[in-house]
Symmetry: C2
Subunit: 343 residues, 2 copies
Amino acid sequence: MITIYSEDHRLHHGQYELIAGGFVPPFENPTRLDIIISRLKEKNFGEIKPPNEYGLDPILRVHTEDFINFLRTAYDEWYELHGGEKDAMPITWPTRHLRQVVPKGINGKLGYYSFDAATPITSTTWQAITSAVNVALTGVDLIKEGQRAVFSLCRPPGHHAAKDLYAGYCFFNNAAIATQAFIDKGAERVAILDIDYHHGNGTQAIFYDRSDVLFVSLHGDPDQEYPYFLGYKEEIGTGKGEGFNKNFPMPWGTLWPVYKDALDQGIDSIQNFKPDALVVSTGVDTFEKDPISKFKLKSENYLEMGNMIESLSLPTLFVMEGGYAVDEIGINTVNLLSGFEEA
Amino acid sequence: MITIYSEDHRLHHGQYELIAGGFVPPFENPTRLDIIISRLKEKNFGEIKPPNEYGLDPILRVHTEDFINFLRTAYDEWYELHGGEKDAMPITWPTRHLRQVVPKGINGKLGYYSFDAATPITSTTWQAITSAVNVALTGVDLIKEGQRAVFSLCRPPGHHAAKDLYAGYCFFNNAAIATQAFIDKGAERVAILDIDYHHGNGTQAIFYDRSDVLFVSLHGDPDQEYPYFLGYKEEIGTGKGEGFNKNFPMPWGTLWPVYKDALDQGIDSIQNFKPDALVVSTGVDTFEKDPISKFKLKSENYLEMGNMIESLSLPTLFVMEGGYAVDEIGINTVNLLSGFEEA
């Protein structure tokens, strides 16, 4: 399987994220991809290629122009106000009893366009996030050219980002942009299988009223787990999209047999949908040793998971999302891909 | 003028607040009131009395039962999950593209009921915030008993708190609860004059559809300044409340002549409203040396401000809100009250 990868991901490396009442160095950091690349090479998994350049047009198919412009200039506006020591970070958010206005100042804009304080914007974040989109889109093209499966090793991840909202380490929704690109290049239906530990709230929100994209997500129950405010079972889509959104929230401590059963149901849904392509939002933070997640999957489970996904016999784009147990992120990610390839 | 004060405010002393991309010791801390008390004594300003106890009923007139229960148990739930090192602090907030659900877990609930990460909940916050309400309500009773004016030296402040939302250092909206108590004890109309540097978004939201409470706020333009998502000039009230909300946003660098002109207009509105009582949400963070605010008022301006407020000839309850230039917070607060008393 070809892997698409850009060194530009290093240009996004925040100083801090807010978690459990304090600021800590980000769990989402460049080392994650170093370990994955190292494991891919160790296993001679396949060619690692740089991305092509696609510009902003495919991003505009998913995100709003004002959001894109905000991300492009946010750090500079922040620097102008606060100087250069800290990453740009919002301080307050427009929840209920407040208005959805876009303030002129940067602190207000940071709050308007985000929903957490875990997602710093640095002076070079823009280059990293546009490159991550290119990594995803290059995978789409390779599949259109006949590859059965491609691994788009994106970083930062994307699945928490909605059309005009960033957070959860995510800025542009790489998987959603790839999905839209499949459709814009002729696919009638695309399925997204989100196996990251956290619900892909951004992806769900982007496609919630559409019947040409089926979104299936397996994740920690939002009653207990980030992002808390989306990912519940009763969210099934709206309007034309009704029935095309399927959430499988599972409790802390979930083991492989329960997870596998949910995955089986998700795969059945995808099979019935008869998509032209599959995008896998690929997180390995379901692993038992992940530092911020609470499922209990083991490394060998990812082999079986890849095998099960392969059974759909679909052109498949793996788009990297989360996974923070750095020592094992390489083993688990490559197990997933190997399980698919060797099925 | 009698001052109502409780030592219980010390029981709320957070470790950190999020500002400008980092965690810093809270600007809103117990020393603020020490300086004010010290200045009141130095100037022999008047008797300092402890509050009476009012229980939760007056709070329930303004805040929802689920919100009150959340605040009462939040720290214990946090401690159970995370242990005791850090104050309880939300990590994500339900903005647009997310749902207004109340998750079962404490991290989700903290996000649901708040809108910033500047407002830690400690193990003893509950006692402090209920005492602050008692401080405000004792002032109401003294005025009902015939006092022309009372200073309720509340801490934590309250004007950012809406019926089921805390943030901006505020938990229970002391001024709103006092206002409602005036009405419940027979007042037909009550005016609130909010002279804190920050817009009193919580107070506005609580009374936005009511014609028996006029809310007048002078504050930093939300286009530039916290809380960013409320406090704009066009917010005039809704339904029966239309015309009973008046915002005077002013830009960074505002000097006394411009401020005074806005205050004149606000006072005119209050006069035309013919209220039975006036509640002054009293912040002195409009001061030129305030560390987190950007107006340029001088200490002597507070004397004139108090004088102008007195010209309304109304029973007047001063409820303490913000002010963070600790060295001068005593001088400026007592100047305001003296300007009123000596008018």
